[in-house]
Symmetry: none
Subunit: 223 residues, 2 copies
DNA sequence: ACAAAGTTGTGTTCATTGTGTTCACGCTCA
DNA sequence: TGAGCGTGAACACAATGAACACAACTTTGT
């Protein structure tokens, strides 16, 4: 559950945005603050994962508060909400390492899309020990579109196979990957052998009684 | 012309990356530094737009240097280059407001793709007085929810498709949505794929005998 | 020591199911 | 009337999985 602190000087707006967040699966509103000082105190008290931060606060500029929040909680993520359209403000916020900048007024769908992006990219980095290039690319919405898949392989299934391999504790056989994903061994093998060609997996043989079994271990991309 | 400072302790690597940058239209190498101290001095002297920053430097951690570079030149952009795959390193760099994180080893094409993204997104913000949501979305590679309805789709049918999906208990295929609304599969698919682009639905494949079926699940707000 | 049998797994083939594209059709509007 | 749009039938082809021949090992028998 991703804990969110709402920071907005306008009580009504804060309430609306709280409602939006509360309706987003996987997110929960852990608090609301209406000034920069309150926000700092609440960050220290509640330890939220994410702050929805309005730039215009009565006691401090949101951009300045961003730095202070970072100092108070280095692991905090910040999604800036602002009516400000000055490119300079946007640039400063981006250089502050925000996860998004959403311009008011915005719809619930707008916010949900950004929260979803945050959840799928930044938060998956949070729960991982290692990352690879595709994780970073996901943050910036860049897809590895340059590598064409062979005929007979779909992008969606490839992503699922890669994900399964990367989260496996050890190596896996085609049959195991297939069972895990609801695919046949033969289909899983198609993807695994292609990943092998790309150098993204390492193949090892497991010897027993009978023909050796091909097992695949995630090795990360090789350029 | 975007001026780039290369910061890497390995002289050979720095030379290779300089070559990559020099071959990117719109970019010029303004200097090379091999230590953190040199990098700071060169940033002050050369005023580059972008630093290609290797994390592993002999005298300082690249992440720490990032903060110092920001203090010395608040308008500086930083593209991190690193062999580090620890997710924690990646997270810290992202919170430092980097424009990208490229994992070694990478190809020239890899770097050019990121430089191109930087040029089209961050740099266009640099030359603008105002920004709008699509400018921010471009940084994060998101298409936004206000993308106009494509030719061949009617607003009335769009609403009906969205309503059908919203009220579905589970996911639906294009065929099912089409049957429900009295449309053909192909027409329903048009709307569903558009919603997929907008991030309002999630696509999952259902495997069986034969080609997998694309199924669409509503992911936007319920209300 | 070597061959044969048994066991386990692979890799290929092709049938099945579904997708995605193309373009003709009917309707609306200027 | 002609242009443009929304739609769907038709079709080529894509992505799967079952079935099967056979490969690569281990075990057993001579």
């Amino acid at each position: 559950m991703i804990k969110v602190l709402i920071v907005d000087d306008d009580f009504m707006v804060a309430r609306i945005h709280s409602g939006f967040v509360a309706q987003m699966p996987g997110f929960t509103v852990s608090g609301v603050a209406h000034t920069g000082a309150q926000a700092l105190a609440e960050v220290r008290r509640l330890r939220p994962d994410l702050v929805l931060l309005d730039i215009h606060l009565p006691d401090i500029s949101g951009l300045e508060l961003l730095g202070q929040l970072r100092a108070a909680a280095p692991e905090i993520d910040v999604l800036v909400i602002s009516a400000a359209r000055e490119a300079d403000t946007v640039r400063q916020a981006l250089r502050g390492g925000i996860v998004h900048y959403l311009m008011k007024p915005f719809t619930q769908a707008d916010l949900h899309q950004r929260l979803d992006h945050y959840q799928r990219t930044y938060r998956s980095l949070e729960s991982a020990d290692t990352a690879d290039q595709s994780d970073v690319d996901a943050v910036f919405g860049m897809s590895g579109t340059d590598k064409p898949l062979p005929k007979g392989c779909s992008a969606e299934t490839m992503v699922r196979v890669q994900t399964a391999l990367r989260s496996a504790e050890a190596d896996s056989s085609a049959l195991e990957v297939g069972e895990l994903l609801g695919l046949s061994r033969v289909s899983a093998r198609r993807y695994l052998e292609y990943l092998n060609e790309l150098g993204q997996v390492q193949v090892e043989l497991r010897y027993g009684s009978g023909r050796p079994e091909r097992r695949y271990r995630w090795q990360g991309p090789r350029s």
